[in-house]
């Protein structure tokens, strides 16, 4: 009998704590599949951030460090500088990467750290219960934007890929989404490519994944997929913003 579906080796046999309809789990799986396919499980070190994915180190089979809120790129820098032949990746939410950790991501990219950054953009703070994220859309209601996000009061939502791509040390910058089988297949290829860029030592690779948070969006899982497509994608267009010629 041919086996057609199994848990990637890089993913541990642990029940994830994510809410129904949350796409954190899907992205974990994509990362694990990429690690499997590249055969790098034994030399990969992950860095978990502070957010709903704080327990990511429980879900992967590779080595992991847990970083302070926002500091994962700095922690990853430390690891990579000690172990330049290992594969190092961070897994960060939008609060973690685009708010408290902007200095760290900008400077890791500027330095061209040879690390891979998986950036989960769900337009809200999940873990702490639905506060505004830097990526929260205009008009979006959160617990700290009870009347909806207003440009003149709360500022505009931040586009990370568009910002990072300008930095010379960033080698691969792309935005993908986790809402449909087609988009997930694209996301999978992007994540594998990001690791390949790191393996070739080309610079920092960053994959932004548009994701859902049904719990704090106050939507059902199905409504969330629709909201991602209809509300998030217009503001956060998908596609490669920067890509080295060496990797297809």
């Amino acid at each position: 009998m041919k086996q057609v579906f199994k848990r990637p080796q890089a993913l541990s046999d642990t029940v994830m704590h994510y809410c129904p309809g949350c796409t954190h789990g899907i992205v974990h799986r994509l990362v694990a599949e990429a690690i499997d396919e590249l055969g790098i499980l034994d030399r990969t070190i992950g860095v978990a951030s502070v957010g709903c994915s704080v327990l990511a180190y429980e879900y992967f089979e590779c080595d992991f460090q847990e970083a302070a809120h926002g500091r994962a790129p700095a922690v990853a820098t430390g690891i990579k500088r000690v172990l330049p032949d290992r594969v190092v990746f961070t897994y960060q939410g939008d609060g973690d990467l685009a708010s408290i950790g902007t200095a760290e991501i900008i400077h890791a990219a500027t330095r061209g750290e040879k690390i891979t950054v998986i950036f989960i953009n769900n337009a809200i703070y999940g873990m702490t219960g639905g506060q505004m994220a830097p990526t929260t859309l205009l008009g979006q209601k959160t617990t700290t934007t009870p009347r909806g996000r207003l440009a003149e009061y709360h500022g505009q939502p931040i586009r990370i890929c568009e910002m990072i791509k300008e930095l010379d040390g960033a080698a691969y910058v792309t935005r993908v989404a986790s809402n449909s089988p087609r988009n997930i297949a694209v996301a999978k290829r992007a994540i594998r490519k990001a690791f390949q860029v790191q393996l070739l030592g080309l610079g920092l690779s960053l994959v932004e994944v548009l994701s859902t948070c049904p719990t704090n969006w106050g939507l059902t899982p199905v409504e969330s997929m629709k909201w991602l497509e209809e509300k998030m994608m217009p503001h956060y267009p998908l596609g490669e913003f920067k890509s080295p010629g060496e990797v297809k």
Binding site: H17, C19, P20, C52, M127, T215
Partner: protein, 178 residues
């Protein structure tokens, strides 16, 4: 007088507002009260509970570890909290959802088909009020009328049209106790 009460169930079952109603009712009766929720990520989709203390004197810890009164709205809560009830205490079980019987024989147990009665009343969301009505009628930490009077303070304004229904649910629960 000291009642240490724990109310536990699924996230969306309204266990938090059951506790708040008790605390509010206690306050309006001039008693000392406190309400303390479980908090943290485990609440999402999982179990939620709140501690309520109603006392004639100043309240020590608002965290109830050995309840004298327990309401369990679902099975995981029964499994987690039954053994913690003080001997001689009261446990109300939502028997619509919890098919298991209590295993303790040193406490008083009241089986309340809260969801079935709520369905009869036409709104499954008032199952919590049925259970609360029975609990209050049996343990009498506060008067049922004080609980009813607290509804408009505890329910958000957009739910005030449901107050009569909530009152009926409380009465139906209380009616199970003589």
């Amino acid at each position: 007088m000291l009642h240490e009460i724990l109310i536990a169930g699924f996230g969306g079952q309204g266990v938090m507002s059951m506790g708040m109603l008790l605390a509010y009712a206690g306050m309006t009766e001039g008693l000392k009260t406190s309400w303390m929720p479980s908090y943290g990520p485990e609440m999402r989709g999982g179990t939620a509970n709140c501690s309520v203390v109603i006392a004639s004197d100043a309240i020590g810890s608002p965290l109830v570890t050995e309840p004298s009164g327990l309401v369990v709205m679902n099975l995981p809560s029964l499994e987690k909290f039954e053994r913690k009830v003080k001997p001689g205490g009261l446990m109300v079980i939502n028997s619509s959802l919890v098919k298991k019987k209590a295993s303790r024989d040193d406490i008083e147990v009241l089986y309340v088909p809260a969801n079935d009665i709520a369905d009869e009343l036409g709104n499954p969301r008032v199952a919590n009020m049925v259970a609360l009505g029975a609990f209050v009628a049996k343990l009498r930490p506060v008067k049922l009328d004080s609980v009813k009077a607290s509804l408009k303070k505890v329910l958000p304004e957009r739910r005030h049209d449901l107050i009569p229904l909530n009152e009926r649910a409380l009465d139906r629960g209380a009616g199970l106790v003589d």
